[in-house]
């Protein structure tokens, strides 16, 4: 059954269909014991379906229609099994015990009503269910082991934190708990499904380093699912590139990154911002020669939020931030979650008021002006938000979405507005035929184009892009960034780009402002900050960009 005894997993000719629609087409790959393999692909490439098939946890109408998934015999327990045909009781003894899963979203994968410790203990007890009476541990022993697991997963003071609830943990800490749960059954194969996509880069690096050391120490095989080619290259021995339910290419990180054979892989490598940034030694083409007067001046901006339940208690989200943005350039504000970068953007947009200091657009501030002057300012600044699913009213047609600002400002009549919408759709390279569709009928990338078209409707000079590409797949992200750069050339737009992703910065920005806990840590041109970072924090951020190892 198993072609090579050294293999822990052999998947061959696997077909999966959802309600009759084939989703995976003859997938085949194998993993050796102790090997770390990455499956890389965009959303919809079938990578999550592949794991679903291996764990036999396909959602809804998903069925395995052809092929086999052979799991090698365990070192201590369990024989060779074909997971494609195994019965449910057999699968129950395999999941968590021989194959562990670290799921994607640490925010939703822990039960919010249950303490952390018992959730780990549950996994521990469940994994010993098959051992019968002699495998049963008493409660004190379960707790001792669960604490040990949490400690091992990198949770400091695990004894005390055992009794805390998930909301008392940060995203990174929750991910560590999930790792502890996955390791509770001492599986020989660990599947990590985008374990760090929801986390900041520096946290991501800590978690992955830790996961790697745990896996190495135990000799566990790791199947790592990610959309980030750079991350896969850094962390694994072999990369499987998937697209549209097929395996496109398999190779070592070096082969895939430096010598991709397939057209799709080439595109992916070219688009992957982290790799592109590392490979491409030149930063963005030199900044516009004639530096003009600044369009946006942020001066000594401070924002304090009152703490709930504490009289007079405040937290300083933005602390004395100053920078300026010149007309026709792109400035990126970089920072991790909680760095205050979004608050800065909201103050500039006039959605929040500053506690002190000011954000001036062409010399005036949205938070202090009123009436006609304020309306004129509004027309100069428009936002593009992160989530293209939330930022477009789902009840509106695309045409109404794009012409809403025109209607609010009473620009033109019906006919001229339609002309303008058509023109805007052309500008963002969307077919005019989408005009009567609803946002939910479009893909994420298309929606973000609609959001850009709508932001451009009033012919603003400054676009505030709040994580405008973070929710998108790399290839789509690349397209949107190209579109933004193109629009900047044609319309002379100025961008303030809020992002957590340094590699994106390198692709599009002229100047960078690095923020941390409300402070500006460092600012300067992209070239200065990337090649000669002064602050330690900037160095740390730069070091955490995945794929940097292939810079040479």
């Amino acid at each position: 059954m198993l072609q090579d005894a050294e293999n822990i997993l052999e998947v061959s000719d696997l077909d999966v269909t959802f309600g009759g629609t084939p989703v995976l087409h003859r997938i085949g790959f194998s993993m050796r014991r102790g090997e770390r393999v990455a499956i890389v692909g965009q959303s919809g490439s079938g990578k999550s379906t592949a794991i679903g098939a291996i764990l036999r946890l396909l959602p809804g109408s998903g069925r395995i229609t052809h092929g086999s998934i052979v799991l090698g015999a365990g070192r201590t327990r369990g024989g060779v099994e074909d997971l494609a045909t195994a019965t449910e009781p057999v699968m129950r003894s395999i999941r968590g015990q021989r194959v562990g899963l670290v799921p994607q979203d640490p925010m939703s994968n822990l039960n919010p009503a249950m303490k952390i410790g018992p959730q780990v203990a549950d996994a521990l007890v469940a994994s010993r269910r098959d051992l019968g009476a002699e495998g049963k541990l008493d409660r004190a022993e379960v707790k001792r082991r669960a604490v040990a697991l949490l400690t091992e997963a990198g949770i400091p003071d695990a004894e005390r934190r055992y009794g805390q609830y998930p909301h008392e943990f940060s995203g990174g800490m929750r991910q560590r708990v999930l790792i502890a749960i996955a390791l509770a059954g001492e599986p020989e194969l660990l599947i990590a499904d985008e374990p760090t996509s929801a986390l900041d880069v520096t946290v991501q690096r800590q978690i992955l380093n830790h996961l790697q050391s745990l896996v190495d120490a135990r000799g566990t095989s790791l199947l790592f699912i990610t959309h980030d080619l750079g991350l896969a290259a850094d962390r694994t021995d072999r990369i499987i590139v998937m697209s549209e339910g097929r395996i496109v290419e398999v190779g070592t990180p070096r082969q895939i990154l430096l010598d991709p054979q397939e057209e799709y892989t080439k595109q992916l490598v070219a688009a992957a911002p982290s790799v592109a940034a590392a490979l491409d030694a030149d930063p963005l083409a030199e900044t516009p020669a004639a530096r003009s007067e600044p369009i946006l001046v942020v001066r000594n901006l401070v924002k304090e939020f009152a703490l709930r339940g504490q009289r007079g208690g405040t937290v300083r989200a933005v602390n004395d931030v100053s920078f300026q943005v010149e007309r026709g350039t792109t400035t990126a504000v970089v920072g991790e979650s909680g760095s205050g970068k979004t608050t800065v953007a909201r103050i500039i947009l006039g959605l929040e008021s500053a506690s002190s200091g000011e954000a001036l657009i062409d010399g005036a501030s949205l938070t202090t002006t009123r009436g006609a002057q304020r309306r004129a300012l509004r027309r100069m600044v428009q936002p593009v938000f992160q989530d293209p699913y939330g930022s477009l009213d789902p009840t509106y047609s695309i045409e109404r979405l794009i012409d809403e600002p025109l209607r609010i400002f009473g620009v033109g009549d019906r006919e001229s507005r339609r002309e303008r919408v058509a023109e805007l759709l052309d500008q963002v390279a969307l077919p005019r035929g989408v005009a009567q569709r609803r946002p939910n009928e479009l893909s994420g990338g298309q929606r973000q184009r609609v959001a850009i078209a709508r932001a451009l409707a009033l012919e603003p000079e400054l676009l505030i892009c709040d994580e405008a590409v973070s929710a998108l797949d790399v290839l789509v992200q690349d397209q949107i960034l190209t579109l933004l750069a193109d629009l900047q050339d044609r319309l002379g737009l100025t961008y303030l780009f809020i992002t957590h992703d340094l590699s994106v910065v390198r692709q599009i920005a002229h100047d960078v402002v690095v923020m941390r806990s409300g402070d500006v840590v460092e600012s300067g041109t992209v070239d200065e900050v990337f090649n000669r970072p002064r602050a330690d924090y900037t160095k740390e951020l730069l070091g955490a960009i995945p794929g940097a190892a292939f810079a040479a």
Binding site: R375, T395, A422, A451
Partner: protein, 296 residues
């Protein structure tokens, strides 16, 4: 609809038109069609009662009480006074629907704007929510008794009492939806476009709250029909001999073992009305909900 770039047409900019989307969505929903047909049937039965009914609803036939259904001359039989059940049923549907529709309209027309205001502005919220609490503290029977005492028991007063009783829940539903929707990115986006609060409430919050309002309305409708029965039973609603489904039900329970059909038919009618409104309301909600268009 074509995905490809359409050549720009003179004047129209080639953007097409968005009309007919809700209708086409309704057409593709078999349950919705069923509900719609039932609703049309029930409404027609009520409207055309004077034409369809073989007798006047209050015409008594003392020589033929308690006739079984399918008796010659009385397709659904007669009640204790020998009144034709079919005729009473048709007129009863008419009155019950009137009460139901009136009270739902009242709840929606008053509850929705108040809910929007309460959800959108904190100042209004404090006032409106307290008023809601006070209203909830009064059982609707007390309101109905009060109204009947002031202006006499009638169909209109019963509808008003039932409607008022439903306003607080309507306010809460709309307020909750508003609280949720006003935090969304698209409302934030509208604010950066200098949209006024009125614009945001009417053009963003209300359309997105529509499905919740429809669902709540379809919940209120049967409650009102049954509530009317209760009020009429207590003598606070429709006055005999005007038939309503509620009065028929409460009359029939005195002789339910002798002539069960006198209770069964109005019961079935109430169930059908509720079912029709629920099915059609569900379909309407799906049609209005843009995130549902992929399901066909």
């Amino acid at each position: 609809m074509a995905v490809e770039t359409l050549p720009p047409k003179a004047g129209g900019a080639g953007l097409g038109s968005g009309r007919g989307r809700i209708l086409s969505s309704l057409r593709h929903n078999p349950l919705g069609i069923t509900g719609g047909i039932m609703l049309v049937a029930v409404v027609l039965a009520g409207l055309l009662a004077p034409l369809l009914a073989p007798y006047s609803p209050s015409e008594v036939h003392f020589d033929t009480p308690f006739q079984r259904p399918l008796t010659e001359g009385f397709p659904l039989g007669t009640d204790d006074l020998g009144r034709d059940i079919l005729s009473r049923l048709l007129f009863g549907i008419q009155t019950s629907l009137q009460v139901g529709v009136l009270s739902v309209l009242l709840a929606v027309v008053i509850g929705t704007p108040l809910g929007l205001l309460a959800g959108y502005s904190r100042g209004f919220d404090a006032v409106i929510s307290r008023l809601t609490d006070v209203t909830l503290a009064f059982p609707f029977l007390i309101i109905a008794v009060g109204l009947a005492a002031i202006s006499g028991p009638s169909l209109g007063n019963a509808a008003i009492a039932l409607g008022i009783a439903q306003i607080p829940t309507m306010i809460r539903v709309v307020r909750g939806e508003t609280l949720r929707i006003k935090e969304s990115d698209f409302v934030l986006g509208a604010r950066t476009m200098d949209a006024s609060p009125t614009w945001i409430m009417l053009r963003h919050v209300l359309p997105n709250a529509t499905s919740a309002i429809i669902v709540q309305a379809t919940v209120i409708m049967p409650v009102a029909v049954i509530g009317e029965a209760l009020l009429s039973f207590l003598g606070l609603g429709i006055q005999p001999p005007t038939p309503s489904l509620g009065i028929m039900l409460s009359d029939a329970q005195q002789y339910i073992f002798r002539a069960p059909s006198a209770a069964i038919f109005p019961g079935i009618a109430i169930a059908l009305i509720c079912l029709a409104f629920n099915l059609f309301g569900d379909a309407l909600r799906d049609a209005f909900d843009p995130t549902n268009t992929t399901r066909k």
